[in-house]
Every structure is written in C-alpha cells, then in structure tokens.
C-alpha cells in the first residue's frame, strides 16, 4: 500500500499495517519555521532558508526531503492566497526577530511600529492599515482588530459576506496545477480550498481585506451569537450557498484526486468548556455545515475535516450530525477529552486526526522519554480499527526541544516497523 491507499483505508475505518502520519497538510497540523530549521540541522540536510507557507503562524514548508525523513503520508494543498490576501510566490529572504533567515512571499510587506513590533499589510499594501502584528518577542502574528462603526441594531449582511466570492478562473487554474504537480505522488492530498469555515474567529478580523466592513471585533462577534443569531444564520446560509457553488466548480477541476477537504478551523472549545451549548451549535451552525458536507458526500469521495481546539466533547455528536468525517486536533489534555472515552464513543463515526501527543505540556516541556511514552499510548488507543491520522495536538511550535520532536518521529517509526 502507498501513502494514499493507507490514508484512504484509515479514513474508511479499516485497520492498516501502519499509522498514517501528517505534518503540514493544514494550517493546524504544521510546523513552525524555526522548528523546521532545527529538524533540517538535526538530520544534516543542506542549510538553506525555510519557506514560510503560512505567514500568520509562521508555519513552514514540509518539503519532499523532510516528508521522507518524517515519513509523512499526506500533502497539504494550500489555498491560492494566504491569510494576508497575497499569493505564495516571488520568494524573498527575510530575517526574523529570532535571527532566522527564511523565505517569504514577495508581498510579505512589513514595517516596525514604535515598540519595535512587526506590522504586516493585507495584499502587501503598506498604504492601508496593517492587519496583523508580531510582537518583537513573539514567534507569529495576531490580528489587529479594525472595527469601523457599524449599525448595531441592523448590521449589514453584505459587509460580512465580502470575502465569500465565487472562485475565479485563476483559482481553478491554480487547483488544476496543484493536482498536476501532486496528483501522482502517491501521497494523500488535503485541499485547503477556503470559504467553508463558518464564523472562524481567526478569519472574522479579515486580515486579508484592505478595508474590512461589518462586525470584525472578536468579542462583538461572540456576543452576536446571543444578540443577533438570525444575522449569523443568514451570513452562514448565504456563505454556504456560495461555497457549494464553488465546490461544484472545484470538483470539476480536481475530481477525486484529493482525499480530504479542510473545511473549518473555528474553535468551539476553551481549555475546559465550549463557546456555546449543543443546542446553540445545532441552531446556528449545524444546518449550514450540513449543507456543504452533504453536497460533498453526495458528489465526491472527499472526507471533510473539522478543526476545533479545546474541550469539545459535548459538541462531538453535533459535529458528526453536521456531516464531518474528521476531527482535529483532538486536544487530549482539555477537560473531558479522554482519549479512550473519545475512541470508544465516537471512533466508529469519526476519524481522529491529531491527539498523537499533547503540545501544551508533554511535547513542549516533557522529556524525550515522556514524549515517546505518550506517542505509544495515544497510537495504541486511537489506531485500533483505523480512523486515525497521527498529528500532534495542533502545530509544533518554535520553542519545542528538537530532541522531543525526534523522539516522537523515532517512536512512530518503531511503531510502523520502519526503524
């Protein structure tokens, strides 16, 4: 079996001979550029700047060399433009705050503010207000809230729909090219089409728009779930209509060459609880997720991927009812997210993509031995009868000791009989 076949088998809940591994297929399963450099050094690869493929979180390209070394089975096909609205092309060198030479897209336009923090501009246009900031002692960006006054009693739906547009011919050509390049690699393919995330709190501030209108403040958006639920429902209804039309066009180009669609990264969980109760989720979100997932399931072989950090156990049944096939990052250290319980209760219906090792404590601050023990334990629990893709709980951050990442990889290789 090649990687793609193994992925298909595990997505179909069939026990495979080895565990399927992902690093870098989506903006929530990636590796920070600093860690990629450390890994390249560790494995003695040629010294060269890592490409920043997801500039918001400074995630880097897991290229073919590293894919082979890390035994990665899937390739992530990124959307044509980044979260800052520019394309990943015309690479140029950039020196980070932590002294690393990296490659960034040509439109990665930045300035320093009076505190020495790094500001970045939507579509690479420094004539408009910056849309995100990286603190001088930080490792990635966070959105700058650009909230213009809006009509609180009757906010405009159109203003919050600006970013959800029909795919263009340029987008379709891009996707055709992605399939041409990656379609015959034998790897599983994860498509990040965009446009299918409902109310993703990372996207609400619209770091990619030059002049965002509508509700862009995060707290106001959260409160809107109580004060104006009909407004949110109408946004999601219209957005999902656009998304379905886009999926039809994209499917005509990529067909069943892709295996998984990264649908939504909206976090419904905190460390100990959720952002809403199941009834609210089922009222405001579920019908519109369902509309997109239903179209995909009745017309394609794709599986749909839902990311939500946090303690979301009470919402998992609703995620399943919304038509999602895959849950990520499976935050095993959050309240109620006991791996054995999750696997027993939901393992037949949901693929766990993540949960391989806790990143808040074990991977970041534990010993290599502790990392190895946890990886073994989680693989033992989650991989029974398939339905598991190994990934850490969210991206691997800059500060993780490289020996812990190597311990994780070595353990996976042993489990897979490759060491």
């Amino acid at each position: 079996m090649n990687s793609k076949e193994r992925l298909k088998a595990t997505l179909a809940h069939q026990q495979g001979s080895r565990i399927v591994i992902d690093f870098g297929s989506a903006p929530v399963t990636g590796i920070h550029v600093l860690m990629l450099e450390k890994l390249r050094d560790y494995y003695g690869l040629e010294k060269r700047p890592v490409k920043v493929t997801e500039p918001y979180q400074m995630l880097g390209e897991v290229d073919e060399e590293l894919r082979e070394l890390l035994c990665v089975d899937v390739i992530g096909l990124l959307s044509r433009t980044t979260i800052f609205g520019f394309e990943n092309k015309n690479w140029k060198e950039f020196r980070t705050f932590w002294g690393q030479e990296v490659l960034v897209p040509g439109d990665f336009m930045t300035t320093l503010d009076e505190r020495g923090d790094l500001l970045i501009y939507p579509e690479g246009d420094p004539s408009v207000s910056p849309s995100a900031k990286m603190p001088a002692s930080g490792f990635f960006f966070d959105a700058i809230i650009r909230q213009d006054p809006f009509n609180e009693e009757n906010p405009s739906i159109e203003d919050n729909l600006e970013e959800f547009k029909p795919v263009t011919d340029k987008d379709l050509s891009y996707w055709a090219e992605q399939i041409r390049v990656h379609g015959s690699t034998g790897k599983g393919l994860v498509a990040n089409f965009g446009g299918t995330a409902l109310g993703d709190i990372a996207l609400v501030p619209a770091t990619f728009l030059k002049h965002p209108k509508g509700i862009r403040d995060i707290q106001e958006w959260y409160m809107s779930s109580l004060t104006r639920p009909d407004f949110l429902k109408e946004i999601f209804d219209r957005q999902s209509d656009v998304a379905v039309e886009n999926l039809k066009k994209l499917y005509a180009v990529v067909g069943d060459a892709i295996d998984v669609v990264y649908m939504c990264g909206n976090d419904f969980g905190t460390q100990q609880s959720t952002f809403c109760d199941p009834d609210t989720f089922r009222e405001i979100y579920l019908p519109y997720y369902r509309k997109m997932n239903d179209w995909i399931h009745s017309h394609t072989t794709w599986k749909t991927f839902k990311h939500s950090c946090g303690a979301v156990e009470t919402l998992i049944s609703s995620f399943i009812d919304a038509g999602f096939d895959i849950l990520n990052p499976v935050q095993i250290n959050a309240t109620g997210m006991d791996p054995e319980y999750l696997k027993r209760k939901y393992g037949d219906q949901l693929v766990f993509w993540g949960g391989g090792v806790d990143t808040q404590k074990v991977l970041a601050f534990g010993t290599p031995g502790e990392v190895s023990d946890q990886v073994r334990r989680m693989c033992g629990i989650f991989s029974k009868n398939g339905g598991f893709v190994f990934n850490t709980v969210h991206n691997i951050q800059a500060n993780v000791p490289v020996e812990n990442v190597v311990a994780m990889i070595d353990t996976l290789k042993k489990i897979n009989g490759e060491a």
């Binding site: 923090d117 603190p135 002692s137 930080g138 490792f139 959260y222 109580l226 104006r228 460390q271 500060n399």
Partner: protein
C-alpha cells in the same frame, strides 16, 4: 421602589446581560429597562452607590461567574453580563472619583510580553471588576518594565498575568521573577490555557485559577 428592589433588578440585569432598554437581548426582557436605566433610577431615588456596587453589580457578576464555572453559560453570556455591568459602572464613576465609593483595592492585569491574546484576560478583568475591585487593564504584550512602573504607581496592588501560548509562558516566569525582586510583597495571580497550578508553584507566583470565578474568590480571601 425599595432600595432592595433596585439592587436585585440591577443584579438580575447583570446576570442575564440586559444592558439597556434598547437592547434586544435577552429576548424575554425586550422592551424592559436594563442595567443602564435601573442604575440611573436607583441613584436618582437615593440608593447608595456603594450598595449598587456591592449588592447589585458584584452580586450579578458573581452569579454569572458561578454559572460559567459550572458550564451552564459560555463566553458570550459573560461578555454580555460584563457589558451590562460596564454600562451601570459608568453611572458610578463620579462616586469612585470623589471617593464616595471605595473599591476593595487595585488589580493590574495584562498579557505577558510576546503574547497578543486578550479575550481570556479581558474576561478575568471584567469578573475582577465585577468583584468590586478597581482594574487597570494594561493590555497585551506587556513589557516587564511597564508592569513594574505601574506596580510602583499603585502601592499595594495585586498583579494578574495571562499567557495563552507555550512560547510565552517562559516570559511569564521571567516577569514573575522580576516583580518578586523589585516588589517582593506584590501578590501575583496567573492564568491562561497552558498554565497550571504546578507551573504557578514552579515560577513562584502566588495563585493560579483555571477559571475567572476562582480569581474573584481568591481575592475575597486576601482583603
């Protein structure tokens, strides 16, 4: 109307996030006065502003904090309660400024250097304010020097630090160490998703809570 009626109505508006007459939320209170109007009327009819704070706002925020901890309500509900509280608090401002109403003390709160996350920190700030404390919110990415300068400006203050990231938890450790060197008697509370009680002990902070109500309850014990 009796004072106690006003106070209970204010507490109720805060608990359920009823900001003002115009607010459509909660739907079953549509068309009714909110925290804004009732606080104004209470003051106009002679209710002591100190009572409005302690028996109205603090009570309402305490009820929502307890429900939040019990997972009966969620972040949006707490934000609405805080909005109602802040609206009422505007009417009390002159009494704080004149000294007619005293708060329990001052809490400086901020997200540590390198970290720009502020929702969790803001919710804690709102709950502390709703607990009857003056809160000075220093924002995000607060540098150690700024924090120590503010501590020196507010003798006896308590410090609350937040970190959402494993990469900025280390900055929290440095910040706590510097505060303890410069201002050894300053109490420091810490929180944030990756932060734990063990980490709190390890870095020499005084208190950790996994939820905002725990902070309010800790503060009650140290007055």
């Amino acid at each position: 109307m009796m004072n106690s009626d006003f106070l209970e109505r204010i507490a109720y508006c805060v608990e359920y996030g009823k900001v003002s007459l115009q607010s459509p939320y909660p739907p079953d209170m549509k068309g009714q006065d909110g925290a804004d109007e009732i606080t104004r009327k209470a003051l106009d009819e002679g209710t002591a502003p100190g009572l409005i704070l302690s028996e109205g706002l603090v009570k309402g925020m305490e009820r929502i904090g307890v429900k939040f901890r019990a997972k009966q309500v969620f972040v949006p509900h707490v934000l609405m309660s805080a909005k109602a509280m802040n609206t009422a608090m505007e009417h009390l401002k002159p009494y704080f400024l004149s000294g007619a109403v005293q708060r329990k003390g001052t809490v400086l709160i901020g997200t540590v250097a390198g970290d720009l996350h502020d929702i969790g920190k803001n919710i804690v700030a709102m709950m502390i304010e709703g607990g009857g404390w003056e809160v000075i919110n220093l924002g995000v990415d607060v540098k150690d020097e700024e924090l120590i300068e503010e501590i020196n400006k507010h003798p006896g203050c308590i410090v609350a630090l937040s970190a959402l990231l494993t990469t900025t938890m280390v900055n929290m450790e440095n910040t706590v160490r510097k505060i303890k060197i410069n201002n050894p008697n300053t109490r420091i509370m810490i929180g944030g998703a990756p932060v734990t009680r063990e980490f709190c002990d390890e870095i020499g902070a005084d208190f950790y809570s996994p939820d905002p109500q725990g902070v309010v309850e800790y503060l009650k014990t140290i007055i």
